[in-house]
Amino acid sequence: MQKVTIIGIDGGTWTLLEPWIGAGRLPNLASIVREGVSAKMESVIPPVTPPAWTTAFTGAFPGKHNIFSFHTFRDEQRVTTSADRRVPALWQMASSRGAKTIVLNVPYTYPPDPINGIMVSGMGSPSLDNVVTYPEAFRDELVRRDYQIDEVGASPYRIVEMTRKHRELASHLLDHSAWDLFVVVFIGSDRLQHLYWKYLDPSHPDYDSRLRKQYEDIFLALYGHIDAFAGKALAHSDYVFVISDHGFGPITKAVSMTKFLQDVGLQRPYHGLERVVKVELEGRMMDARFRVSRRLPPALVPIAKRTWRRFVAHQREAAVQSTSPVGLFGQYWMCLNRGGKEGGTDGPAYQAERDEVISKLALLRDPESGARILTKIYRREEAYHGPYAKNGPDILFETLEGFSLKRKLTTRLLTHPVGWSGEHRKYGIFMGRGPDLKAGSKLEPLSISDFLPTVLHLLAWQIPRYCDGKVATAVFKEDSRAGSTPPAYFDSERQRAIERVAAMKKRSVI
């Protein structure tokens, strides 16, 4: 088998990469672009990490792979795990063909899959104390290296340091283990971009030209680790692909969705003492929190922060446990309080209520320009197709670029963004270099669902027919095998069995 390395850059975007590649700052990624193929790659709905990476590595959209977000949307919001994934991933397909496979740090792959090689789970793993590796004994190597799966703090230096550890483990395995397929995702890029986009983007309201160089150096230190690993991979692989799960761009305005929902009667307004506590005190408590945290012994700070976050989360959940039509919501989705509606989500009562909510959401406008903030609104069944489409949220939306939807109640609808200054965008990146791939070719955008079928076709493996994506034939040289033979498909018996058993369970036959 030809050796294939796939490098994932979480949140990787041409907006950042193009200028750095042009300036010679990322020489190995530059050589992939120069000597290979490159394109934008369109993410999933919504463009968030768990469903997007799962689509990249399964070729199926969320209605078929069943991973919709960081958590489920069924009666209780339980965190997503790899057990929720209902179609096989590339590394499982490779393993069953006997290919030696290494998989590192792909988000939402905990618990790890038993594969023909080594797997280390990524974001969504509880901690290094859990069994985050396959085989289990490989965990000793992580402990020995003081490895870190993710960095949840805001220190940019710690995020770069984590990325160094990711690169070192990946480089070590690239050199010292047998493999045919090597997959690694670098998560640090997404962490840095959410927090510090403002220092790279002159169009951001908080841009400060005095800090630009300092932060650009930090970003380039992180991307330098990824670039160095790409260089090593190029020397050891027949094919190297570099992809991202979604793009990135600035957050310029924060929208208090809770204020909007209360104003239009979709959530219960806070009254009396509750209002004082939730609106008046929350702002002051946020300030106090930082003052207090400076006086606490350092060992207590993480505990204090965790307790505070749990308290806020509990308050928020308590506020929507009510008769209000709208329950929890996020940047891209909204759930209705379905509680005991006749006919469930297929019934007319549910449909009518959802239509009513959607018609009100269309009223959310930027007071300055008058533009609709939710530029597209989808019903669940418009966004998802497949056996698990019913597990998605009730409503999904796309927002006007730069607008971040917040749960915090503020007195004005729009406020200056605090915390994050960057958010996901629909278009991420795709690039690849290798003998059968075109050289120096910029292509039309691909769908992230095309990635898996394209890799399978390159390897002359059959493609499961349930895949939503198609082979991106434009990436191949026309006279190559992949470029001159049509893709071969097969009907997945595995998938048919899953769907039949699911149907029998639904009818309570078994």
Binding site: F70, H71, R74, Q77, R78, V79, T81, S82, A83, P88, M93, S96, P111, M123, G124, S125, P126, S127, N130, D150, V152, G153, R191, H194, K305, R306, R309, R310, A313, G330, G419, W420, F490, D491, S492, E493, R494, A497, I498, V501, A502, K505, I510
Partner: protein
Amino acid sequence: MTNEQDVTLSIPRALYDRLKARAEGTEFHSVAEYVVFVLEEVAKDDDSKSMDSEDEEKVKDNLRALGYI
């Protein structure tokens, strides 16, 4: 593949033959692999948790710290 942890079940020869024909050229390399996969699907509790509540809370703490939930 068999090991000490496995037990043997009998199924009618005719069913075995039908399943063998069906599994051929698919992802399954043997009838045993096919049958185990189907039975695991049947036995699976779709709403079961693959994490205990302590681990669940650890992941949620991380997501809150990151600002995702």
